[in-house]
Amino acid sequence: VLGIIAAVWLLLPTVVKSLLRISFYEFQAPAELAGSTARDLQSFWSTRVRSRDALFEAGRDQARLFASYELRIQENEHLRNEVARMERLLRLPSHPGFRYEIARVASRDFNAWWQQITIRKGSNHGIEVGCPVIFAGGVVGRVREVHAYTSVVDLISSKNVRLAAFVAGDTRPVSYQGGGDLSFGPARGHAEFIPNDARASSNAPLQLVTSGLGGVFPPGLPIGRLYQVTPGPDGLFQTGLVHLDPRLHSLTEVVVMVAFPEGEQ
């Protein structure tokens, strides 16, 4: 009987399997969201029991941060206008624009074979499959699945994430691939096709950033650091282990970059 059921499952059309998968996912999604909301509530109540002095201090620090961010916003606006003016003068194609969608992390699911997070925004906020996801430390990953109220993001350490990168300050492309998650140490990735003249050490690591090639990630976003590079098997390029930001393991909030439709900025 069990063999017949297994055979029936294998012969079932893909449409039926997809429908079942979506149904079961959406059926479980409220539980996942409820768990995440309960954690937020727990964090709220743990903050409530802090002393008034601690809250005043935190408020003062926040005010300082806001003041510095406001200066940065003005500076960014000035630079953006400058870039637009240069693009007009030199008749350069403009960079694709993005809308930034901030989302809470509902769950983190990291094991030896995959590393993914579920965020509390989905197609209801216009998120699409393939959207880049970032945080304060750089690249988080790429949206793999979009559901009604949630999305699943493949972390940059996942082995199915590949992207073109640059060593900061260089314009020769390097290939990056997620390298999994081990029991000890930070998550990591692998870099290939690093130019032979690049040198890295623990005192002077190389910063790997997105290249913008391929059009998914905008250029210049930090990926990770290379502390050592070794000659590749062909001798023409070098390879290296990329140490990713340790904060990837404790993400609570991320930003999804949703591209504006063409012609709309």
């Binding site: 399997k17 079942l20 479980q28």
Partner: protein, 184 residues
């Protein structure tokens, strides 16, 4: 004839268990960063509900429970959909082959079956996930740590989970112990 929904009760309690395991995995991802010396682990406890369904339900009821659990398990993971379902069905077949030799209402042997089932399912899922990935042998160390942590969890949580399943069934007036006694 009164419909028998005990498979659904077993599946729902299984989903509740898997929900709590997911929450634990979420918190465990940041534990090494907070505590420094703790290794990163991933818990897997799918063997518990499968073992209960295999040991305490009829074949028809066990199959329905396993289908409900298997389809829910893969819905959010990147493995081909249905992988867990096929693994669970395989595990169920193995449990049914041996169950006549096991005492049906004792916690100790049931926990042992759950531990063995979890180990078999974890190894199966690892084989599916590792297939086609380059240099996958590097990650077997992590997989072994995850497996050992999962087996420890199943050993500790097994007696509690089996009691929970029995209590959940009793809420709906299904008394497995009495049924076993009457069958004897």
């Amino acid at each position: 004839m009164r419909r028998d929904f005990r498979w659904l009760i077993v599946a729902v309690t299984g989903w509740v268990l898997l929900f709590f395991v997911d929450q634990a995995n979420h918190l465990l991802t940041e534990a090494p960063q907070a505590l420094g010396w703790v290794p990163r682990v991933y818990l897997y406890a799918a063997g518990l509900p499968i073992a209960f369904a295999g040991l305490r339900l009829t074949l028809r009821q066990a199959i329905l429970a396993v289908i409900a659990l298997g389809l829910a398990a893969d819905a959010g993971s990147p493995v081909p959909y249905g992988s867990s379902l096929l693994l669970y069905l395989g595990a169920l077949a193995a449990i049914f082959a041996f169950r006549s030799r096991l005492p049906p209402d004792e916690i100790g042997p049931a926990t042992l079956v759950a531990v063995l089932t979890t180990a078999a399912l974890f190894i199966g899922l690892t084989a599916i996930s590792a297939a086609g990935q380059p240099n996958s042998f590097i990650y077997f160390g992590r997989a072994v740590v995850d497996l050992l942590a999962s087996l420890a969890l199943v050993t500790i949580a097994g007696p509690w989970f089996f009691s929970l399943q029995v209590a959940a069934l009793e809420l709906f007036d299904i008394r497995l112990d009495e049924e076993i006694r009457q069958a004897r």
